[in-house]
């Protein structure tokens, strides 16, 4: 099996029905995407495939066509993505476990809608956070949108 992840091509063996999440975590040792539910219900495992957010815990590794981006692939030349910077500025994470998925979902949102409203954020950000960081996530997404606008 061959996959391009964060710009690097990996060749490995895995059962065809293995979810992408476990191929990433257990075979390729890419630990950013987290296991939370195994049924696409929480979003902790969110990665991008060709820029689209995907819940990797239920996405068969053999079905992946295109480039996979995990949170490890977000920084460019060591510089954090605007969403990551905004997350730090707003001190979003508490336990932090869901935040890889939240950040990937936010990146995907801002790729589609550059200046999202509260409703856009409510609709797109369906990932679960048990620490209740939602108000800070919302504020950070708006800040990231502003940062990206300046750089555009």
């Amino acid at each position: 099996m061959k996959l391009t992840i964060n710009g690097t091509t990996h060749e490995f063996e895995a059962a065809a029905n293995m979810p992408l999440l476990w191929a990433l975590r257990d075979i390729l040792d890419i630990k950013g995407p987290k296991f939370g539910c195994g049924v696409s219900a929480c979003g902790a495992c969110t990665v991008l495939i060709n820029g689209e957010p995907v819940r990797s815990c239920t996405y068969n590794v053999s079905d992946v066509e295109g480039e996979v981006t995990t949170i490890e692939g977000l920084p460019i030349n060591g510089k954090l993505h605007a969403v990551q910077q905004a997350w730090l500025k707003h001190q979003v994470p508490q336990c932090g476990y869901c935040q890889s998925g939240q950040i990937m979902a936010a990146v995907a949102l801002l790729n589609t809608i550059s200046n999202p409203t509260d409703t856009d954020i409510d609709d797109a950000m369906t990932n679960l956070c048990r620490c209740g960081t939602y108000p800070k996530i919302k504020a950070a997404i708006k800040d990231a949108a502003a940062m990206l606008e300046v750089n555009r």
């Binding site: 059962a15 293995m18 979810p19 476990w22 975590r25 257990d26 075979i27 040792d29 630990k31 950013g32 995407p33 987290k34 296991f35 939370g36 539910c37 195994g38 049924v39 219900a41 929480c42 902790a44 995990t70 949170i71 490890e72 977000l74 920084p75 954090l80 990551q84 997350w87 730090l88 001190q91 979003v92 994470p93 508490q94 336990c95 932090g96 476990y97 869901c98 935040q99 890889s100 950040i103 954020i121 409510d122 609709d123 950000m125 369906t126 990932n127 679960l128 956070c129 048990r130 620490c131 209740g132 960081t133 939602y134 108000p135 800070k136 996530i137 919302k138």
Partner: protein, 760 residues
């Protein structure tokens, strides 16, 4: 200076030690020294000053924050205590949890364990607090819980920083041959203004660690704090926005196997029969072992990867035995009703004579109501997991645990090895909420590690296994009866609460040899211990014997009693035609109740309480004192077409002393969301003796689109420092129920509220 302060100050006498020198001088509490766990962790050249501070020659400064970082920011705040007195900034230091050690026992967690309200400073209450300190020293449990970490660390970790700085300065003074008083410290550098030379802490650390700190450790007054009292970025913040490998589930070891567990979904019984054939045929499944422990019986699936292990567990065909507890939730509720109808097990908070008052009250001047709350799961975002490596008679574990010492001792007992032959590496945790102090997770991993031929194994529970094998927040029900004056003021309050005992459940699975029983204030906490000047009161506990495992769920007994009591007070206010805020204020008149009055008045002002609202909107108010922190909240809802939208929450909290304002506000916000989540539909129910819920699709929590705007303000009127992690939770649910009543006239007395009304 408090007794604690005196003791810990004395304890620092003669604690200087350099790991390279091999001189182990203990850290003394009372008279018996505990060994310094940091010595075992120190690398060649590390100078160890005390259990909390080591400094390498290259000026790498490491602070040990020996409490579970599960999102509450404890590593940042505890490190700030040391950094403040060590005169370094937080971005200069490494913060580690460290290895387990009795030196890190939590004294504060047990101090409020006695049957007294937080504000009671009478002889009995204080004497009990004193003896709890001795008991906690004797048990020497290194636990994170009870919102106690910062309270416990406040003096001793500042003293650790101060003691290290004083010997560093003394060593530098000796080096330069000057008086120590002429030297200045800043940012880990000592400056000699006479010759304009400087020394880093690292350059002088080996010599400094040989010196004894003075017996008097002059801690900085608050007015001189540089770090404490100010909001700090989290020390692990960067890891948490870059997918850092910091959680137990991220552990990766050479030659590591993977596994999962399938434990009996019927509590207290095991398998009648098992067919392993199909499971062993799953590609990647290597072995299936039997697990027998005090926490459960079942099977461990050993595999080449986690996915294979999960599939193996699904394919494992087991017939489980039938336990003798009721098969379904209705049967369990009947047991609560029976307990409620029989004599009480104990009474707390008795004031005046409620029976006499009731006998003297006209029959039309009574008001009563019955409330109930279900079992709840913790559902931490990171499912339960542990990695274990058993080789040559020694066990090493990597686990996110709130009780590393318990994990160490119970796993040692399971494998029949010495406690010192178990090493526990405590990782950061994807949520804890009380779940991660339990020993089931390390026990199963240790049992599986003994069957791998010396290879390490990471054991990850599926979400379904996690949901169905929790130590649940207990089911509870309460009867409130009040006698009223003709004006509607409460003259007598009689409260009966029925619930299973958390301590009986906990001791049974953790220390089976210790008998349980007696007064357990948890059943009544959040009710009997609240600020009240109602002249006649009585709170009776009815303990129910149910073997469903129960445990500490964020705010524990306060999580249901806060809902019960603050709903009832609100009901009486409306029955009496009184404003719910004014009614509360009229019943907390003692001087020591002042923080409660102030947070209520504050939150009312923040929310513009009593102001006019558009049709369909309503506000509810509630107050709860828990873990030493006074919290008042107003929830505002909008009810349109019978659907409730929680619009806004205002929160005023008084912890007495705030060390990191933004973090405390974040904890209040978190506690509110955690509390409101249960109202939206959380419940653990039973059929066929098994939990009926499996995953987030049938036990969800609040999501982004349901989350209100939350505003938090902090006050400092309280006489002692309170906790941060839990106190935001208890007032949230009654404030919501009270807001729904204000908007709709519908009183909901049963959790989750979603049974009676729809939420957006």
């Amino acid at each position: 200076m408090s007794r604690l302060g005196t003791i810990t100050r004395r304890s620092f006498m003669g604690l200087g030690v350099a790991a390279t020198g091999g001189l182990a001088v203990g850290y003394y509490f009372y008279t018996k020294p505990f060994p310094n766990p940091l010595i075992a962790m120190a690398a060649e050249g590390d100078a160890v000053f005390n259990p909390y501070v080591k400094i390498a020659a290259d000026n790498t400064i490491t602070i040990i924050a020996p409490r579970a970082e599960m999102g509450q920011g404890v590593h940042t705040t505890l490190a700030a205590l040391v950094a403040e007195e060590l005169d370094v900034s937080l971005d200069q230091v490494n913060v580690e949890h460290g290895l387990p050690g009795k030196a890190y026992y939590n004294e504060a967690m047990m101090v409020e364990g006695g049957p007294f309200p937080f504000f009671d400073e009478g002889f009995m209450a204080e004497a009990t607090r004193g003896s709890m300190k001795v008991v906690s020293k004797f048990l020497a449990l290194q636990m994170t819980g009870g919102s106690s970490a910062t309270i416990d660390a406040f003096v001793k970790m500042r003293e650790a920083g101060c003691a290290a700085r004083l010997v560093l300065v003394a060593a530098a003074a000796e080096h330069w041959g000057v008086d120590a008083g002429t030297l200045r410290t800043s940012g880990g550098v000592i400056t000699n203004h006479v010759n304009n030379e400087t020394l880093t802490y690292g350059e002088i650390s080996e010599a400094a660690a040989q010196l004894e700190p003075p017996s008097k450790l002059p801690l900085r007054p608050r007015s001189e704090w540089k770090t404490l009292g100010k909001s700090q970025p989290r020390v692990e913040g960067l890891d948490k926005v870059t997918g850092g490998r910091i959680f137990g589930i991220d552990v990766q070891l050479p030659d590591m196997l993977y596994g999962t567990v399938k434990i009996s979904p019927r509590f207290g019984v095991g398998a009648v029969s098992v067919d392993k054939n199909a499971a062993l045929k799953v590609a990647g499944v290597l072995d299936i072992i039997d697990i027998e422990s005090t926490t459960g019986s079942g099977f461990g699936i050993i595999a080449e990867n986690t996915w294979a292990a999960f599939q193996g567990a699904d394919a494992l065909e087991v017939e489980w035995a039938t336990p003798d507890y009721p098969a379904n939730t209705d049967g369990m509720k009947s047991m609560l009703d029976i307990a409620m109808a029989t004599n009480s097990d104990f009474t707390l908070g008795k004031v005046g004579n409620v029976e006499k008052e009731f006998n003297n009250t006209d029959s039309e001047n009574f008001f009563g109501a019955v409330y109930d709350a279900p079992y709840l799961a913790h559902t931490t975002m990171e499912p339960m997991n542990a990695t274990a490596h058993f080789k040559d008679g020694k066990l090493e574990m990597w686990i996110g645990t709130q009780g590393p010492g318990l994990a160490q001792s119970t796993c040692a007992a399971l494998l029949g090895i010495k406690t010192e032959d178990v090493t526990v590496n405590t990782t950061r945790m994807g949520g804890g909420f009380g779940r991660r102090g339990e020993v089931d997770v390390p026990l199963y991993a240790a049992a599986m590690a003994a069957k791998t031929g010396g290879r390490p194994i990471k054991v990850t529970w599926s979400r379904e296994e996690d949901m169905r094998h929790d130590t649940y927040r207990p089911i509870a029900t309460a009867q409130f009866r009040a006698s009223l004056t003709d004006d509607g003021d409460i003259t007598g309050l009689d409260v009966d609460i029925a619930s299973p005992s958390i301590l009986t459940s906990l001791l049974g699975r953790t220390f089976p040899s210790i008998p349980a029983g007696g007064t357990e204030k948890i059943v009544l906490e959040g009710a009997f211990d609240q600020p009240s000047t109602i002249p006649n009161r009585r709170y009776q506990a009815h303990i129910v014997d149910l073997p469903v495992p129960i445990g500490f769920w964020r705010s524990v007994g306060n999580s249901f009693n806060g809902f019960f009591q603050e709903s009832f007070i609100d009901e009486v206010a409306h029955v009496s035609g009184k404003d719910p805020l004014e009614f509360r204020l009229s019943m907390m008149n003692d001087e020591e109740h002042r923080p409660a009055r102030e947070v209520l008045k504050k939150v009312a002002k923040m929310a513009n309480w009593g102001g006019s609202l558009p049709a369909g909107k309503g506000q509810g108010i509630a107050h709860a004192l828990s873990f030493g922190t006074w919290v008042a909240q107003v929830v505002q809802v909008d009810v349109t077409d019978d659907v409730v939208k929680i619009e806004k929450v205002w929160c005023a909290a008084d912890l007495g002393l705030v060390l990191d304002p933004d973090n405390v506000k974040a904890q209040m916000m978190s506690g509110i969301v955690y509390g409101l989540s249960q109202a939206l539909g959380q419940e653990i129910t039973f059929s066929d003796h098994e939990v009926e819920q499996y995953n987030f699709y049938d036990f969800d929590a609040m999501r982004m689109h349901q989350c209100p705007e939350i505003v938090v303000e902090l006050l400092e009127n309280s006489h002692r420092m309170g906790g941060a992690g839990e106190p935001g939770t208890p007032p949230s649910t009654p404030a919501l129920a009270n807001a729904i009543y204000a908007s709709t006239g519908k009183r909901i007395r049963s959790m989750p509220l979603s049974h009676a009304i729809d939420f957006a």
